[in-house]
Amino acid sequence: MHHAPAKTSASLVARGQVPREAPARRWYYGAAPGQQPLHAALLVSSLLLLALAGCSQEMDEQPRLEVYETSEFFEDGLAMRPPVEGTVPRGGLRLDVHFFEGKVGGQLATSWPDDITIDRAFVERGRERYDAFCSMCHGLAGYGDGTVVARGFPAPPSYHIDRLREVPHGHIYDVITNGLGRMPRLSDRITPRDRWAIVAYLRAMQIGQHVEVDDRLRAEVERATAVEKSPGDGKGRPHE
């Protein structure tokens, strides 16, 4: 006899008189009429709680990590992670020894890498980089008399000496990349292409500061400086 109620309800469902999912949805819809205001109050108050949460500035400081932030997740406390040792980033394979190390057959390169085209724009780029990264010590014209040297940093040699006029291009590239003596490496801040641009500009500087002055050139220089001396733009470069 105790099977009878189950049979009844099953047959009611079959005839479509009781919704199939009614028992499962009872918590929301099946409450007695007197209970409905209570549910509405719960709903409204939970919405209000949500609205309260909006009062804090959590959108300003989202739980993601930004560059240079600290992180409690990693042991060293840094959010920025170093690349895994021994890995090469996409496009970071440096097979061209001439271009990336300034060497050919183990010797410092005397020629320009194939990827480099020396034109005005390239030398101008080198000048911009030189002024930003080198001029504080080496001076704007390469005489080793920059502002940091004036503060007591050991003076680097002038570029305009025979020894440095004769060094291969690869030597200058190598010094920028790895440093030499007191000079730090700058490979952490200057890309290989820009290093070659600096080498090109340095070569241009060396040529520009080592010209035999004949009468024709002297006259030209005098004419040019006469123009420059008239109301200057204040952007004159020393030694030029």
Binding site: M59, D60, E61, Q62, R64, E66, V67, Y68, T70, D76, L78, E128, D131, A132, F133, M136, T147, V148, R151, G152, F153, P154, R182, P184, D188, R189
Partner: protein, 216 residues
């Protein structure tokens, strides 16, 4: 029936009715002023730093280029903070024994970073890219103020959205020739000599005010 209110209440009631309106306006104004005050924006407020690094000395006196230390400013979203190695480029020799620099040497020895206090922090729902602005001809000092005169760094601007839009609507007021971007002494008066239309064309600049341009 005895009088409940004294006749003076007439004046008081009128005053409080009209006064209420003024109080509302006053509260609104205080809120408006507070949101723009240094208390809320941090504008002009010097942050304590672990090492009293002076931009005035390094940029103003020595003329060191911004990029020497902030080397990703042309290519990345973040301008980049110098590593301890960069500090030691010079300070391995200069002022080496100064107590101010003790932390730099300690950082070098232990491989622990120097914990600078961030001066400019935008809300996380704003996307900002330094490289885009630099390459569009917006100078460092346009946003960071006279950094070459700051012994300790502070925010020169409110970093409010209305301040961003002020430039995004009229970029020709702020855009510079490419070689003046990192010049801390460049002033806007020079821009008036250069045709702003030409500058805009040279940098291929447009007014960028779509929401999704920054809120992405």
């Amino acid at each position: 029936m005895p009088q409940i209110f004294h006749p003076s209440m007439n004046t008081i009631s009128r005053l409080s009715i009209f006064g209420f309106v003024f109080i509302l306006i006053l509260i609104g104004f205080i809120g408006w002023a507070l949101a723009r005050s240094p208390y809320q924006t941090g504008q002009g407020v010097v942050r304590p730093q672990p090492i009293p690094f002076s931009h005035e000395h390094h940029v103003g006196d020595l003329g060191i280029d911004c990029r020497f230390c902030h080397d990703t400013v042309e290519t990345h979203a973040s301008a980049g903070m110098p590593s301890t190695e960069v500090c030691l480029n010079c300070h391995s020799v200069l002022f080496r024994d100064s107590p101010i620099l003790a932390q730099v040497h300690e950082s070098q020895r232990n491989g622990t970073p120097i914990m600078w206090t961030r001066v400019h922090d935008l809300a996380d729902y704003v996307y900002f890219h330094h490289g885009v602005h630099i390459n569009a001809g917006i100078g460092c000092t346009s946003c960071h103020g006279k950094i070459d005169e700051m012994p300790l760094a502070y925010r020169a601007e409110t970093l409010h959205m209305e301040w961003c839009l002020d430039c995004h609507r009229n970029p020709e007021q702020h855009v510079r020739p490419r070689d003046a971007v990192f010049d801390p002494h460049w002033v806007n008066t020079e821009a008036k000599e250069i045709d702003p239309e030409l500058l805009l064309k040279a940098h291929d600049l447009q007014s960028r005010t779509q929401c999704s341009y920054c809120h992405r």
